[in-house]
């Protein structure tokens, strides 16, 4: 099976900080891959390199075999990558529906002349946009009001809309940066189920997540990062058993003994 995403030896540095320092992994179609690691490990920076927001200092990113390294974010999105952000990046003053419509920008269907003269084509395309936006909101299980500015909504609802917006992009690859952060238990369960449904649409998912329970349950493969490096990669079971991972997560005493939480 050919890879949807191939990341090869990715590097990026800010001044002296090597945020990502040689990261490589593949994502195959319909796969859910988790990227984990302590805060500051470089996970978000890696996402930003893949999606073109940062220009990698070295390395390559291939999407369905074609290089997208260093391209403009909009071009990478057009090539088939969609994402959410670690801290919600919605359009706060616009309605829920408009936020989702953002993901559908590349559908086209009308131009400025259609808009000025309100041609039938324009009306049809606007109706289709609205239909589709409702469909994606339904898909993520959003039940709140849809015609109001999104800044007025609760955090959990905003997170749902951000995913709906990314899904509306209909990409081959979806990058989710800490989608479960700030959600309660039942919301997390729904997220888990949503990830499976997204995968069934044929979209591969890479997600950054701190909740180990969720990660172990949802992902087929896990990439573990620390200090910009990839310290382990494998199935959840393999990763759980990897000494390097345990060390990175739990820290180590001066004399090299693995600390356990129970001591304190």
């Amino acid at each position: 099976m050919s890879a949807v995403l191939e990341v090869k030896n990715l590097h990026i540095a800010f001044g002296g900080v090597k945020a990502v320092d040689g990261l490589s992994f593949d994502v195959h179609a319909k796969q859910i891959v988790a990227v984990i690691g302590p805060n500051g490990a470089g996970k978000t920076s890696a996402f930003n390199c893949i999606t073109g927001f940062y220009k990698p200092t070295a390395g390559e990113v291939l999407l369905k075999g074609a290089a997208i390294t260093g391209k403009r974010p909009a071009d990478i999105a057009a090539a088939g990558v969609s994402r959410t952000f670690q801290n919600l990046r919605l359009f706060p003053d616009l309605t829920v529906l408009d936020n989702v419509r953002a993901g559908m920008h590349l559908y086209g269907g009308q131009n400025w002349a259609d808009a000025i003269f309100h041609t039938p084509r324009f009306k049809r395309s606007e109706a289709a946009y609205t239909e589709e936006a409702h469909r994606w909101l339904d898909f993520v299980g959003y039940t709140g009001p849809r015609g109001v500015p999104i800044r007025n909504l609760a955090y959990g609802q905003q997170k749902q809309v951000e995913i709906a917006r990314a899904l509306a992009r209909k990409s081959d690859l979806l990058l989710l940066d800490e989608p479960a952060a700030g959600l309660n238990y039942s919301e997390k369960q729904r997220l888990l189920e949503l990830c499976h449904r997204i995968r069934n649409l044929g979209t591969a998912i890479v997600l950054i997540e701190h909740d180990m329970g969720l990660v172990m349950e949802v992902s087929e493969r896990i990439v573990v990062m620390n200090f910009g490096r990839e310290i382990a990669e494998g199935t959840p079971a393999e990763v759980k058993a990897n000494p390097a991972v345990i060390e990175a997560y739990l820290g180590r005493d001066e004399d090299g003994e693995v600390q356990s939480h129970g001591d304190a």
Binding site: T51, G52, F53, R72, P73, A74, D75, A77, A78, S82, R83, F85, N87, L88, R89, L90, F91, P92, D93, L94, T95, L97, D98, R101, A102, G103, H105, L106, G108, G109, Q110, N111, W112, D114, A115, I116, H118, F122, K123, R124, S125, E126, A127, Y129, T130, E131, H134, P145, R146, G147, V148, P149, R151, N152, L153, A154, Y155, Q158, R165, R169
Partner: protein
Amino acid sequence: MSENVDTTLAPKKIRPPSGRVSRLFESKWLGWVALAIAVAAPFVNATPYALNIMTTAAIFVLLASGLNIVVGYCGLLDLGYIAFMAVGAYTSGIVAKAFDLPLLFTIPVVLVMTVLAGLIIGAPTLRLRSDYLAIVTLGFGEITRITANNLAITGGPSGIFGIPGILKIGDFDFQQPAVFYYVTILVVAGFVLAAARLGKSRLGRAWRFVREDEDAAEAMGIHTYKVKLLAYTFGAIWGGFGGVLFAGHLSAVAPTSFVFLQSALVLMAVVLGGMGNMRGVVIGALVISLLPELLRDLAEYRYLAFGVLLIVVMLFRPQGFWPARGYEPERKPAEEREAVAVAGEQR
């Protein structure tokens, strides 16, 4: 700007405002009412003085609606907007005089020149951060004015005068003040409507996405640079047509009409009226252009008052007096939806 998203406070204002007054203000008919008033006005008072003021105000409305595309929709602060009007006015004046054409026939050249001006100014600057953009457009505005002031073809400091009228068919001269007023109203109404419609389209949404969060817009595949350039170009065209009307109205063009003060006044109309809301902007433009005529005695203080007003509005009502409406209808229940889909009328 995402750091401003208020996520901690409990949901508020979930329902759209439903008072009678706000329904009235959002009514579809409001535009027609405004047009009717504009058409009827000369029947109330048709002195040359009144017609002059009303024509000037209408041109000002056109400028404000154009700047609203750039500032209101797209969030790009343009402090040299009047330069586009200068380009339009000078182009049509020079071409009309040189070939002894009615102004109407200069429009294709004006269109080309203003689009070019928009691209020339926009291309290098729209990659910049928003605050740099503001100051660079200010610089461009000054460059345009100084250039017009120093070139021979633009008539130097005294400008060009004796510009031919817009059109003359047989004995009927469209240049008569009342006729010219109606022509202006027609053109301005068309442009205002077009700008409002653009705002409610795919392109208009893209502009707003860029305004609200450029990174998020990029992540959705919106080429933010192209989209901004388009906003700029449309703004330039609106300004250019304002210039043609201006040249026709005064039959003369001089550099002093294009000082920074003018750009600032158009900006105030947009900001005070309500950035992004075409109706608010039209009202703002009318207030800014007509108020000084009513308060002639206070002329010395009016710009001071405008300046202070600008600060106060930003502090207490940053969306302007009549902000863009952030609401749209909720989805109809399923059975109704079928019927609506057939009618095709969704928004």
